[in-house]
């Protein structure tokens, strides 16, 4: 067990280190996210109250699109350098490869959220630092990276790569989209927990189902 | 109530149209493949 955990930590550390050195993923994601927030401001000239209601939805759209950019990059190193084979030989138990990728993608999205949330709050003059909203976004990010990592590992091996991932991912992600926006809106409007609790449950269930399926199925992605 | 008849007609035109188009496409595809197979068998 200890061996497995340390392997996992090493793999995660490898991905994070790679990203820290190049800062490819993060810069692209951040630039895209901040620009999108600006665009949304001009696209939707609303009064403050309407803006407040729409905030979780807009925020989640921005996070989803930026997250997709990041996902596209996450397997590029493996693809270009052919490290898949090296990883398979070096690591006992393929599940940890996937889990490590998923956790590092998830952490990437957390960084994104941590930076986007204050910027959004500033630009729209709205306090988004509500614990419920943050929890919702974290759960959403976990579900997103669970589904996204598995699909990205497949699209990285196809001809069309970047173009294909959104097409594959977004239909699958529908329950997450609905749940995050509905829960977020409920939280921001101060409604009682009981009214939006079911959405949080849906998020949790989705994350568990995706993670489980991915662990079962990942062998077939890497091995011939 | 009378003008829902047009929608009724439209609905069944769509149904049989789509089914017919798909079956037609299958027939054409089949012909193309049978031709290729008989060419292969001859050579």
């Amino acid at each position: 067990m200890k061996n497995w955990l340390s392997t996992l930590k090493t793999l995660i550390w490898k991905d994070l280190l790679q990203e820290w050195r190049s800062k490819d993923m993060l810069t692209a994601m951040l630039a895209f996210a901040i620009l999108s927030i600006f665009i949304f401001n001009y696209a939707m000239e609303l009064d403050p109250r309407q803006r407040a209601e729409l905030a979780p939805g807009i925020l989640w759209v921005v996070i989803t699109f930026s997250g997709t950019l990041g996902l596209n990059r996450s397997f590029v190193a493996e693809q270009e350098q052919g490290s898949f084979d090296a990883l398979v030989m070096a690591v006992p138990g393929l599940g940890s490869i996937w889990l490590a990728k998923q956790i590092s993608n998830f952490l990437m999205m957390l960084v994104l959220i941590v930076i986007v949330l204050p910027i959004y709050s500033l630009l729209y003059n709205q306090n988004l630092f509500v614990p419920g909203l943050i929890l919702t976004l974290i759960l959403g990010a976990w579900s997103f990276s669970a589904a996204g990592t598995l699909l990205a590992s497949m699209t990285a091996q196809t001809r069309m790569r970047d173009l294909l991932l959104p097409v594959l991912l977004f239909p699958i992600l529908m329950p997450v989209n609905m749940a995050v926006v509905k829960a977020g809106t409920g939280i921001m409007s101060g409604a009682a927990l009981a009214s939006y609790q079911v959405w949080l449950t849906i998020l949790l269930v989705y994350g568990i189902i995706m993670t489980t399926i991915s662990l079962m199925v990942f062998d077939y992605v890497i091995l011939e | 109530m009378a003008d829902t008849f047009n929608y009724f007609v439209a609905g069944y035109v769509v149904i049989f149209g789509l089914l017919g188009a798909y079956i037609g496409w299958l027939v054409l595809l089949n012909r193309k493949i049978q031709k290729k197979i008989s060419e292969k068998k001859r050579s």
Partner: protein
């Protein structure tokens, strides 16, 4: 190498007859619904198409699981054909749903949970074909396709549950007459049941024919690949 035979002809004629019979029932046997008028009759084939659309995806998902257990390209042929036909029936269900909704509820699109879920599923299965297109190797194509089908199918219950939570203006079929609700008489139930049966037979026919077509295509591709190898061999040696 698989060609048309007598059994298929029989099935085709049987299927065609059933569909015509069902249409006859719709036209002459089923009564005209009091609230909605004649357009309600579209509903019989609409429901049948919707059910068969779901069945197509279920068959594909089962094939996907079986394929991962034991790689057999015949399963892949059935899988892809089932998704294709499922898409066809889903398209029929969606369009007839819109045509039915327009005069009855004065809107083209109702964010009805069932229709919404089916549309999202349709997008998933179109994406499935795009994924297949991006991969050249047949076994990899089948393998990745299967994985995506399994994921796609696993999200359907959650998608439906979420969509239903969000909104409902689909009529409750089995209820008493009300505003926009349908009053179902026994004749209507029978017509609906028979339509579903007729469509099921049609689905089976289309699935068999399409799968055989795909297997023939696979065989052709294998032959061409073999020929190319021979050519290379000659060029290299000669």
């Amino acid at each position: 190498m698989l060609s048309w035979n007598k059994k298929l002809s029989f099935l085709a004629i049987f299927s065609g007859a059933l569909i015509l019979l069902a249409f006859g029932l719709v036209l002459f046997y089923a009564p005209v619904e009091q609230n909605m008028g004649v357009v309600q009759k579209v509903f019989y084939f609409h429901v049948a198409a919707a059910w068969l659309g779901m069945l197509g995806f279920l068959v594909a998902a089962v094939c996907a699981v079986l394929y991962l257990r034991k790689a057999n390209l015949k399963l892949d042929a059935v899988m892809a054909s089932s998704v294709e036909i499922g898409l066809l029936f889903t398209a029929i269900a969606n369009f007839t749903g819109m045509i039915w909704a327009r005069p009855v509820w004065n809107t083209w699109w109702t964010w009805d949970p069932r229709l919404t879920t089916m549309t999202i599923m349709a997008f998933t299965y179109i994406a499935y074909f795009l994924l297949r297109r991006g991969i050249d190797d047949p076994t990899k194509k089948a393998r990745f396709g299967s994985i995506y089908l399994i994921i796609g199918f696993a999200t359907v219950p959650l998608t439906f549950f979420s969509a239903r939570l969000l909104r409902t203006i689909h009529p409750t079929i089995f209820g008493t007459a009300g505003t926009g609700d349908m009053a179902m008489t026994p004749a209507m139930y029978q017509t609906m049941g028979f339509s579903i049966f007729a469509f099921s037979v049609l689905f089976a026919l289309l699935l068999i024919v399409r799968s055989r077509l795909r297997l023939n295509q696979q065989w052709l591709e294998e032959q061409e690949a073999l020929e190319q190898e021979e050519e290379f061999g000659e060029v290299a040696n000669g």
